[in-house]
C-alpha cells in the first residue's frame, strides 16, 4: 500500500515545482503523488504519476478525451456535475476518479451512482482543500457532502481517494494532519488508510480471475 495524495497541481498551475512538492510530500509522510499535467517520474523517492483533470467539458468532448487518454498510464479525474452527468461519467471506461462532489448539487451523487462506481471501480475523491481553506457554511456543506458519500461508501464499497488539491507546498498537509481532518467527517484510521491506497485499487489491472468465454 502506497500512501498517495490523489491530486496536486505543480507549476505552472501552482507555485511549486513537482520536485519540490515531491520533497515536501516525503517529509509529510507520503509515498506517491498524482500530479496534474506532469510527466511521470520519481523524485526524492516519491513516485509521481500523471494526473488528468477534466472539468467544464460537454459529455461528448469528455468521451473523446477519455478515449484518447485510455492507453496512457495517467489517472483520469473528472469534475462532478449534475446527477445524470455523474452517472454517465462513472459508466465511462477509462475514468478513474470523480472529484469535486463537495461542490456539486446535493443529489449529484446518489445511491445509483454509488452502485455504478463500485461496479466500475471509479473512486470518489475527498478533496480536503475546502476543509482546510474554507470557513463557515462552505466548509459545513463540504463536510455534509463527504459524510453523505461515506454513508454510501459503507453500503456499496466503492473506492475512495484523498487529495489535498495543493497548488503550493503550503497547501500540502501531513498524513497525520489529513487523518485528523478526515476524523471531522467521521473517518477512523483504517478508513483513512484505505482511502490513501485508493489509487492502487483504481489503477490495478482489471483482468478478472475467471473469464466467461461463452
Amino acid at each position: 500500500m502506497k500512501i498517495t495524495d490523489a491530486c496536486v497541481c505543480p507549476y505552472p498551475c501552482g507555485d511549486s515545482s513537482v520536485r519540490r512538492m515531491a520533497l515536501e510530500a516525503r517529509n509529510l509522510g507520503f509515498d506517491r503523488l498524482v500530479a496534474a499535467d506532469t510527466p511521470p517520474g520519481e523524485f526524492f523517492g516519491i513516485e509521481v504519476c500523471t494526473g488528468i483533470i477534466i472539468r467544464d467539458t460537454p459529455l461528448k468532448d469528455l468521451i473523446n478525451r477519455v478515449k484518447r487518454e485510455r492507453n496512457s498510464n495517467a489517472v483520469v479525474s473528472v469534475e462532478a456535475g449534475d446527477n445524470g452527468f455523474n452517472r454517465a461519467v462513472i459508466s465511462l471506461k477509462g475514468v478513474h476518479i470523480i472529484r469535486g462532489i463537495q461542490s456539486a448539487e446535493k443529489n449529484a451523487f446518489d445511491h445509483v451512482a454509488a452502485r455504478m462506481a463500485a461496479d466500475n471501480r471509479v473512486a470518489v475523491d475527498l478533496d480536503l482543500s475546502l476543509l482546510v481553506s474554507a470557513r463557515g457554511i462552505t466548509r459545513q456543506r463540504a463536510m455534509h457532502r463527504f459524510r453523505d458519500a461515506l454513508i454510501l461508501e459503507q453500503r456499496y464499497e466503492f473506492p475512495l481517494t484523498i487529495s489535498s488539491y495543493a497548488h503550493s507546498i503550503m497547501d500540502m498537509r501531513a498524513v497525520r494532519e489529513i487523518t485528523g481532518l478526515c476524523s471531522l467527517i467521521g473517518m477512523d484510521i483504517p478508513d483513512v488508510e484505505k482511502a490513501f491506497s485508493g489509487v492502487d485499487i483504481i489503477t490495478a489491472s482489471s483482468n478478472p480471475a475467471v473469464k466467461v468465454i461463452l
Partner: protein, 164 residues
Amino acid sequence: MSTRPPTLREKRRYLLVSVEPAGTPVNQKDLYYTIADATTSLWGDVMAAVVMPAVVAAEGRFVVIRCRRGTERELAIALSTITKCRDVRIALRLVAVSGTIESLRERIRTVKTPDTEDSVPSECTFKKTPVSITQCDGQKVDVIEKGFKNTNRLFLTREDLEEL
C-alpha cells in the same frame, strides 16, 4: 493574587510548530489571533474555551503554542486549517508535543541547521525567467520572480534551477 499550588493548576501541553515558508516573519500577537480564529471557526466557542490556545514563544521559524492537556488533537487539527496570517500565506507544521517548554527548546536546538556549504548564486533563471533566491535550505530553494508584474514566490529545488 497568589499563585495556586502545582496540584491545583490546570495541566497544559505545548506544541512545537514550524512556520512555512521558512524566513516568514511571524508576529506572535497576529499568530495568536489567527490560531484563535481557526480554533473558533472549526470547533466553536465552547471548544475554543476548553482548548485555550496561546502562543508562548517564537524562536526563528519555530513557534511554541500552549493548550490545555487533552485538547492537543483538536488544536492540531485547527492548526492544519490555517492558511494565512494577516494576509501572508503560511502553513504551520506540527513538529512535537510536550509537557514542558524546555523540552521543546531542547528539540529546537537539536534540529539540524541548514547546510550552507554548497550555496547557490543569489540570481538564477527558472523556465527562462530571471529569479532572485530568497531562501535556500538544503535541496529547497525559494525564489521570487523578477519584474514589476507577477513577482510571485516560487518553491523549487536546486535541480529545477540547474536544469535551465
